[in-house]
Amino acid sequence: MITLTHFLIVGACLFSIGLYAVMARRNAIMVLVGIELMINAAVLNLVAFGRYDSEHYGGQAFALFAIVLAAASVAVALAIILNVYRHYKTINPEDINHLKD
């Protein structure tokens, strides 16, 4: 029997993996993948909780909006990363540090 707890644990694992990918900062695309994992962890949570909200379906509606906005922000991020690559010939965030204290 799969209960709410199972969904929450999978969500928490996804979130942690995503956060690790972001913190490792090897490559800008990998950071984006990490962000996507974190958003999907949240979406999973929302849908799982939404089962108990059969009056408004707030969780499901929120999940749909979150998916759409995640796609939009990835599109914008990829366009910006492409521009970075044209100037720097690398997309490793560690190497792109003209701006610093």
Partner: protein, 498 residues
């Protein structure tokens, strides 16, 4: 099939009626949506005939939406609009007008900026992005629901990323855009996770509803704290308070100057309104409120100290102003914490004055940068003799930013300090005293970096004359108007407060 739909939604006609009745309250946003579509069309067709076309459409649209908001100030809609997704109270209306003023100044700034004029992609798309961001900012200031909050913040963020990366002329600009988009996307993902947890604890997305507060009170306090911390990662990113400020100096320095001016003002206005809406939706004796107040008070103190101390050792003017704006965020948070339910005059006045001052400073920075190429403090040496009007205005705004009488910066700080003092007297809360002390201390610290500008411009002499590029004076005149406004509002604060 149709019968089934009606069975599922027995009250569909009531719901449609409610939505239709809600529309007049959202007139400013509807005007902006219409302008958004019009600006796309004019960017495609009208700009070939008359290249001011999209600019004119944008300015007219923003003005119309501001007029719509100002008509609604008198008769706020007390009932929930769109099933309680947004609340259009008087506070929200003032915020809408303030955002409209900042967006208008930004449009004028872009129109006069030589970098954007010379850009091969033209500026039509930038105005379209601005209008979309304007809608997002309005919704952010009015939202009373986590879903609406998330959508509004994302709308503002996406537009801001595009604005920073719009020119992409120099490596630094693309770097700033990349840092901004990666940091921003991480913060909003964390915020989304926090919202999903809050939704799980309470079963509702409307954070003003009693059900939400009951749910929070019935949840273990450690979990609520964690979820609030996650949510405030996203809001903190928009507001740039410590510890979510790391992107600010890099992005402000790297972005085109008009965009920096916009980022340092408009999202902060909306973010502060959002913060106030969330904080005061919850009763003062609930655990969530006390927890949040403690977190915010701590963040405000650290933000004020960090922003002002780090600004002391900057040599790039835009970077220095970035840290200064972080310091002002701390001050604004103090104003939010101090305002008691109905009296938001101090907060509103501070926000208005802060926006005018920051817009003015960045217009002058942009003007000086375009004419002489000076971005570093060392290159400001002796500029006071070459560009007297610009540097005098710069100094006058710096006096106001520090908070020296008789400027509006002084009145704003005085109002906030008074509000904090009253709040301390009413509650005896020790954090208010700490806020007061740190606020006064950082005001003194800020004097030392703000006055570097007149020091370099008037008291030092340059080794060589900078090469002056010819340029139109429209930005300078705009900055002069803002300087005069900042000083006049300091002498007659009633004009704004009334």
């Amino acid at each position: 099939m149709i019968v089934n739909v009606i069975d599922l939604l027995p009250d569909i006609s009531e719901r449609l009626d409610h939505i239709i009745h809600s529309l007049p309250a959202l007139a400013p946003e509807l005007v902006l949506i219409a302008t958004f579509v019009a600006s796309i069309l004019s960017g495609l067709f009208a700009d070939r005939l008359w290249w001011h076309g999209t600019f004119a459409v944008t300015v007219i649209g923003i003005l119309l939406s501001a007029v719509c908001s100002s008509f609604q100030v008198g008769n706020p809609d007390a009932d929930g609009v769109l099933f309680g997704m947004v609340s259009t109270d008087a506070f929200g209306q003032y915020m809408r007008i303030l955002v409209a003023v900042v967006c208008l100044l930004f449009a004028l700034f872009v129109h006069a900026s030589p970098d954007f004029r010379a850009h091969r992609k033209k500026t039509a798309d930038l105005y379209t992005i601005l209008l979309a961001v304007h809608i997002g900012l309005n919704l952010m200031a009015l939202a009373t629901n986590w879903l609406m909050t998330f959508i509004a913040i994302e709308m503002v963020s996406l537009g801001s990323y595009l604005m920073v990366g719009y020119l992409a002329a120099a490596p630094r600009q693309t770097e700033a855009a990349m840092k901004y988009v990666l940091f921003g996307a991480v913060c909003s993902a964390v915020m989304l996770y926090g919202m999903s947890l809050l939704y799980g604890f309470t079963g509702t997305l409307d954070y003003t509803s009693p059900q939400h507060i009951q749910g929070l009170n019935g949840t273990p306090s450690a979990l609520v704290t964690l979820a609030l911390l996650f949510v405030f990662t996203g809001i903190g990113f928009k507001l740039t308070f410590v510890p979510f400020h790391f992107w600010t100096p890099d992005v402000y320095q790297g972005a085109p100057t008009p965009v920096t001016a916009f980022l340092s003002t408009a999202p902060k206005i909306a973010g502060i309104a959002l913060l106030a809406n969330i904080l005061y939706a919850w009763p003062a004796d609930s655990f969530a409120y006390q927890n949040l107040q403690l977190m915010l008070a701590g963040a405000a103190i650290v933000t004020m100290l960090w922003g002002n101390l780090a600004a002391l050792r900057q040599t790039d003017v835009k970077r220095m102003m970035a840290y200064s704006s972080i310091g002002h965020t701390g001050f604004l948070m103090m104003a939010v914490l101090a305002y008691s339910s109905q009296d938001y005059t101090a907060l509103l006045y501070y926000l208005a004055v802060y926006s005018l001052m920051n817009m003015g400073v960045f217009m002058l920075t942009g003007y000086i940068e375009s004419r002489t190429g000076a971005v570093d403090l060392a290159r400001y040496d002796g500029l006071g003799k070459i560009m007297p009007l610009a540097l005098v205005c710069f100094t006058l705004i710096m006096i106001s930013l520090t908070g020296i009488p008789p400027t509006s910066g002084f009145v704003a700080k005085l109002l906030v300090f008074t509000a904090v003092f009253h709040s301390w007297q009413a509650t005896g809360d020790i954090s208010m005293v700490l806020l007061l002390i740190v606020g006064a201390l950082t005001t003194v610290i800020s004097l030392f970096y703000y006055f570097k500008i007149p020091l370099h411009a008037f008291l030092k002499t340059a080794d060589s004359q900078p090469e002056m590029k010819p340029m139109r004076y429209s930005i300078l005149w705009l900055a002069v108007v803002l300087t005069v406004a900042v000083w006049v509002l300091g002498v007659f604060p009633d004009w704004l407060v009334g």
